[in-house]
Amino acid sequence: MNFDFSDDQKLIQSEARKLLNDKCPPELVRNIMEDEQQPYAEALWRQIGEMGWTATAIPEAYDGLGLGYLELCVIAEELGRAAAPVPFSSTVYLFAEAIKLYGSEAQKKNWLPRVASGELIGCLAAAEGFGNGEQEVEQDGAPPGLQANVSSGRLSGTKLGVADGDVANAAVVHAVGPEGEGLYLVDLAQSGVAREAVKSLDLARSYANLSFESAECELLGDAGTGKQMLADLRDRAAVLFAFEQVGGAEAALDMGVQYTNERFAFGRPVASFQAIKHKFADMFVSKELARSNAYYGAWALSSGAKELPLAAARARVSAIAAYDECSRENLQAHGGMGFTWEFDCHLHYRRAHLLALVIGSGYHWRQLLATRLLAAEI
């Protein structure tokens, strides 16, 4: 048994951490939050492309590095730790994965090299309104919520709250076609696409509403299997997002430990009070469980194990809980200063909320986890 990352993978991780320490300090995250003209950190994104991070899990045949998901996981953890304001997850975990999994040879050749080089930003456009789209994932038949549709090869409809929708070059769109639900590839630089940037809960990550009016699109994967493809795609992304969440949770915990060690009250370090120590112990527990569950998800994802759906749901449920607790209680341990704009506590608090909602919320994933657990033979 070897339930750990390899030395090579750990090296990739420490290099990533070094680079982000240097190039993605909290000041950079703040710049993006405070400047509406900068939806993401362009210079950092360029560097990420040059470092080959976007190429990590793309096969060499499409100009990628041909490494695996474990390498991608350790990079995700560091991006989460730094709360990096870049469209990495949308482009790599969702857009590129969709093409890798479902794309034709021509589609892979067309899109993947541009993701690998870092020149292309992609996104996934699924949600159309409030709710977790339970019916879309769980029940048979046409989902009553899904309005976006494709006829005669043209896409029409509206997508709400698409992560990086304002800056992406292309999108994978969930829509109903002539043969049922499908995923469609859409070049966003065309007259049939309108986008409206919207403010997100995490100001360091950009969101947009997308409208399609007879936009050109091409089918991705098999017609009529959109529901299952979307579910599989989200399972895989859940593992990668979990690593971001674990990295963020650990950063929030570290922030609180450092601050309360340095700050004195009643003549001694705040960190010496049991009320504070026990809070940190609980945060540590939550973060450790999330880390171990994320490792299990990484194992399932990288080995193509049949346990992936259960492992992904368990990693996501655990990661949402951990980042929520660590970011919230770090802010609490900072006292009043934690509630100021000036202090960095809210960077992780905001990111924790955002990551708890992308690809479906905790409520949704807990139901999904229960379904999968009750069906599993364990």
């Binding site: 048994m1 339930f3 469980l289 986890l369």
Partner: protein, 407 residues
């Protein structure tokens, strides 16, 4: 990343699978159950059988009754024996805690005399640490050992929460040997012959009606100086070593009650509704599963670290903390699903033979035994996160001058 055995462990697994299939039972004999009295004899018999086959204390040296293998062999054994009903870890406190103390501090002659009989459970051992006024603050213990002119020791005082004391032949006991120095500096550890007139064992009736623990009283109990474990007044260091070995007992994670809850949710129906269809039940199920599975996966990470030559850290506190609380929360939640009839604590009437009513009453003990939730949090905060200790009123004070609240 993979979950495959090394070739050596794989062949060991095959070997013991075969042996267990031929020698272990899948059900306990009629009338024997965990927590009952009858299981003691069954456990003695099982230990004897494993010792004769060479599978007792796998990671102890052969000359002391072990098999000379590694902790990972022990893990494989634990995984395989879990498929059977045999009480394989019944004497874990003696073997896991007292064994290393004897190994580390006794002379060769004593080790050869005592350890093989411990491994085969011919002798049963208990650990005598906690006292009525020294639980979480263990180093505050008061049982006194005084050395006699002939070098032997006389001990007087009382221990509490001693598992298995009523069955034990020997104990490892921590005593106060000097009250004029600070509390950590006046303790000494000994082996104690439990079958002597100066030792009286009295079972403690727990709030759930069971009797798992004991009080042990010493009235001029005798200990030869050869039974001293370590130097005089160096007992705290020795005790820490024993407690660290408790942490090293890496063969299993703390029980959390989850599997029983999952089985219940899979099949139970209350007032015509399948529990598995209730969104609130499903939400709790998912939450507890993510914790249960997280502890399990943390354990796998720890085993990996051990297999690479690392040491288990204070992380075991995580499993203990999560498991204790989960047992209690699951019991409370499940009773609430049963409504008014959940109050019936009668095995013939209640659902699941009243398991969840039982659990509601035994689960508080799990959060207290072997270090309370609060001590686990202190361990995590101080030993893992490096947070400072709270200021203490007893620091640097001679033991006899420490305020005790007793006037």
């Amino acid at each position: 990343m993979d979950f495959n055995d090394t070739p050596e462990l794989a062949s060991f697994r095959n070997e013991i699978r075969e042996w267990l299939a031929a020698n272990a039972r899948t059900e306990l004999p009629e009338g024997v159950k965990y927590g009952g009295e009858a299981i003691y004899a069954v456990a003695k018999e099982w230990y004897k059988k494993t010792a004769e086959a060479g599978y007792a204390c796998l990671d102890w040296p052969k000359e002391y009754g072990g098999a000379g293998l590694t902790p990972l062999h022990k893990v494989v054994w634990a995984q395989e024996v879990a498929n059977y009903a045999e009480p394989d870890s019944y004497f874990v406190i003696g073997i896991g805690n007292c064994g290393p103390a004897v190994t580390h501090f006794s002379d060769e002659k004593l080790k050869q005399r005592l350890l093989p009989r411990m491994a085969s459970a011919d002798d049963v051992w208990c650990q005598l640490f906690s006292e009525p006024s020294a639980g979480s603050d263990l180093a505050g213990l008061r049982t006194q050992a005084v050395q006699q002119d002939d070098g032997s020791w006389r001990i007087n005082g009382q221990k509490i929460w001693t598992s298995g004391a009523n069955h034990s032949d020997y104990g490892v006991v921590l005593c106060r040997t000097d009250t004029s120095v600070s509390k950590y500096k006046g303790l000494t550890m000994f082996i104690l012959d439990m079958k002597q007139p100066g030792v009286t064992v009295k079972p403690i009736k727990q709030m759930d009606g069971n009797q798992h623990f004991n009080e042990v009283f010493f009235s001029d109990a005798e200990i030869p100086d050869a039974y001293r474990l370590g130097e005089v007044n160096q007992g705290w260091g020795a005790a820490l070593l024993v407690l660290m070995n408790e942490r090293m007992a890496i063969t299993a994670v703390a029980p959390d009650g989850f599997d029983r809850f999952l089985e219940f949710v899979k099949s139970a129906e209350i007032a015509g509704q399948l529990l598995r269809d209730d969104p609130q039940v499903r939400d709790r199920l998912a939450h507890w599963y993510s914790q249960h599975a997280g502890v399990d996966a943390s354990y796998m990470r720890m085993l990996t670290a051990v297999s690479k030559g690392g040491m288990p850290g204070a992380e075991g506190a995580v499993g203990k903390l999560i498991g204790g609380r989960m047992n209690q929360d699951i019991a409370n939640f499940t009773l609430s699903l049963m409504g008014e009839a959940g109050a019936v604590h009668d095995a013939a009437t209640a659902m699941e033979q009243a398991y969840f009513q039982d659990a509601a009453l035994f689960s508080p003990g799990i959060r207290l035994a072997g270090g309370t939730d609060e001590i686990m949090r202190n361990i995590i905060a101080e030993q893992i996160l490096g947070l400072p200790q709270e200021p203490r009123a007893d620091k640097g004070v001679a033991f006899k001058d420490i305020p005790s609240g007793n006037g």
